[in-house]
């Protein structure tokens, strides 16, 4: 009771990275609160999955295993979660901000009237005093996220409703095996009692799941372009530089919205979060919604015509100039010096 539950996404018998990242974070929060960390796995043929979940700190693994539960569908998963949460009363519930978690968590929060904060970039335990009523709250979950297009950072709390629910994007939290693994004790969820007939009304007719080909997240060097690159044509220069440096090409939301680059390349609050060894920001002004996804890069080089661009405040090297001139020179002098 009153533990932390992480909803774990499972595709083809494999736990999604985002779920393992949430378990890592959940372990830290559970240690702070002195409660248990529990994983919830809903799917089919789940035997053995508890071993992986225990490695990342899960003390308990709730398992709802049935043929109708995979692939993921909103309504049956939602009913099972709401049924279990009503009985177990977790204080915190975490979901990946993936196409599954962002479909599921809002529906769960609406059913339980519990409140949900989307796309958190940080989760911290802290106290709160309500200034109006004077009520003091201990050990709330601070759900921290950029808002209003990233111009502000908001700390959201759910003082009076449980569970406190949050979604977090893949790559935002670190994935790390727990120092002491959890017990991974299996508790079978008698899920059929939670399902309604209408829960199976939506049917999956066809499904083509591809492994991601563009891998911005895994790259150690990223050449990233913003709206300032100007065109899809100009983006080719970034691919040339990336080719020479062995890098992957990323993009800001503005560049993706303008059609300069594919959505899979988007870095920032609404894209992927990256921590490369080197991040080369080309024509990126540096709005917080972008920097939230890259400010943990070990080194940042910015190329911008505006010497006062916000990106320069977090850059290690700021090159003031037109990227159409700078990038070819970088290619030239890299080749000249690298032999």
């Amino acid at each position: 009771m009153n533990n932390i539950i992480v909803y774990c996404e499972i595709e083809n018998g494999k736990v999604a990275d985002v779920s393992l990242e949430l378990l890592t974070k959940g372990r830290e929060l559970a240690d702070t609160l002195g409660c248990k960390l529990e994983a919830l796995a809903i799917g089919y043929n789940l035997q053995g999955i508890e071993k992986e979940l225990a490695k990342y700190g899960a003390d308990t693994v709730w398992m709802a295993d049935g043929e109708e539960l995979a692939p993921y569908r909103t309504l049956p998963h939602c009913s099972i979660i709401c049924g279990l949460f009503t009985e177990e009363k977790p204080q915190i519930a975490l979901f990946g901000a993936s196409s599954v978690g962002r479909d599921l968590a809002p529906r769960v929060s609406s059913t339980l009237h519990s409140g949900l904060t989307a796309d958190c970039t940080s989760l911290v335990i802290g106290d709160h005093k309500d200034n109006k009523s004077g009520t003091e709250y201990k050990n709330l979950l601070y759900q921290i996220r950029p808002a209003f297009g990233g111009n502000i950072i908001a700390t959201i709390i759910n003082p009076d409703h449980r569970p406190q629910m949050a979604t977090v994007r893949e790559g935002v939290m670190k994935k790390e095996e727990a120092k002491t693994p959890g017990k991974g004790e299996i508790k079978v969820v008698d899920y059929k009692k939670y399902l309604k007939d209408t829960d199976l009304a939506v049917k999956i007719i066809d499904r083509q799941i591809e492994e991601r080909k563009i891998n911005v997240k895994g790259a150690s060097i990223i050449v990233s372009g913003g709206y300032g690159v100007g065109s899809k044509e100009n983006f080719k220069l970034l691919y040339e530089l990336a080719e020479v440096l062995g890098a992957e090409v990323g993009a800001s939301r503005a560049a993706v919205d303008a059609g300069f680059a594919e959505h899979e390349r988007q870095i920032g609050q609404t894209g992927v979060t990256v921590r490369p060894k080197l991040y080369i920001a080309c024509g990126i002004s540096g709005q917080i919604q972008h920097t939230a996804g890259m400010d943990q890069s070990s080194m940042v080089i910015s190329i911008n015509t505006d010497p006062n661009a916000p990106i320069n405040k977090i850059a290690d090297y700021a090159i003031t100039g037109d990227l159409l001139e700078v990038i070819p020179k970088m290619i030239k002098y890299y080749k000249a010096n690298s032999k």
Binding site: R107, I152, R212, Q269, I319, V326, Y333
Partner: protein, 292 residues
Amino acid sequence: MKKTLKIVVLAKQVPDTRNVGKDAMKADGTVNRAALPAIFNPEDLNALEQALILKDLCPGSTVQILTMGPPRAADIIRDAMFRGADGGILLTDRKFAGSDTLATSYALSRALLKLSPDIIIAGRQAIDGDTAQVGPQVAEKLGLPQVTYAEEIVKIDDNEIVIKRRLERGVEVVSSPLPMVMTVNASAPECRPQHAKRVMKYKHARTTSELQAAQNDYLNALCNEKEYLNIQEWSVADVDADDQQLGLLGSPTKVKTIENVVFQAKEAKKYTNADEDINNLMVELIASHTLG
């Protein structure tokens, strides 16, 4: 022959956070909302297009816009009418202020109960909050199935809709019974533009409060005469909503603190685009094993 559908599109007027200019922050560090243009939330336009496609497929169907917001949000209803919507409802009341996504979904669901549509279509998310919560929460409040991340309507029958979803790692085709809620991705087709004839027909469409504010006899007479120029305005009382579930009171999530973003100052090494500078930079990066 397919049946005629009653379609409601959920739309939101949002500040254009994608074009935040230098004047977007006031000197005291707060957001200057006045400097941000108010626009039709982009993915809600994708949603409107899906509704209009359905209307084309099933002649005789109606498309209504439902939006919650301040009186000026009537602008997006007019915009939608210029593009092909039949009309719209503005849900507006001071009691809605401060609503989080759950309270918003509750308010919208109350209005939707009055409209009882066959299909409710919304954009996946709004650019001022990026939460993607209202679609699924409205579906839950109404006890309807939901299909999120929709990209294309593959088929529509009397009692069933088949939809292609665009997910992070692939596509999925699903069927759902009607009525249902779908949320539409930016990867779906863009909305058709405003149509000149429709602009002529609907440009004088007004809400009651707009008519009162304008005090223009000609407009009053026109809207009196032509039913289709009336944009309906609904208050909390009109949708029979429970005050306890609205605004700050009805919102489980509370904003504890707001911090305006100020970048931590860190000295960047400055270079120009001179050959010598770029050469030195490359030498330095290679020497530090950052490159190569």
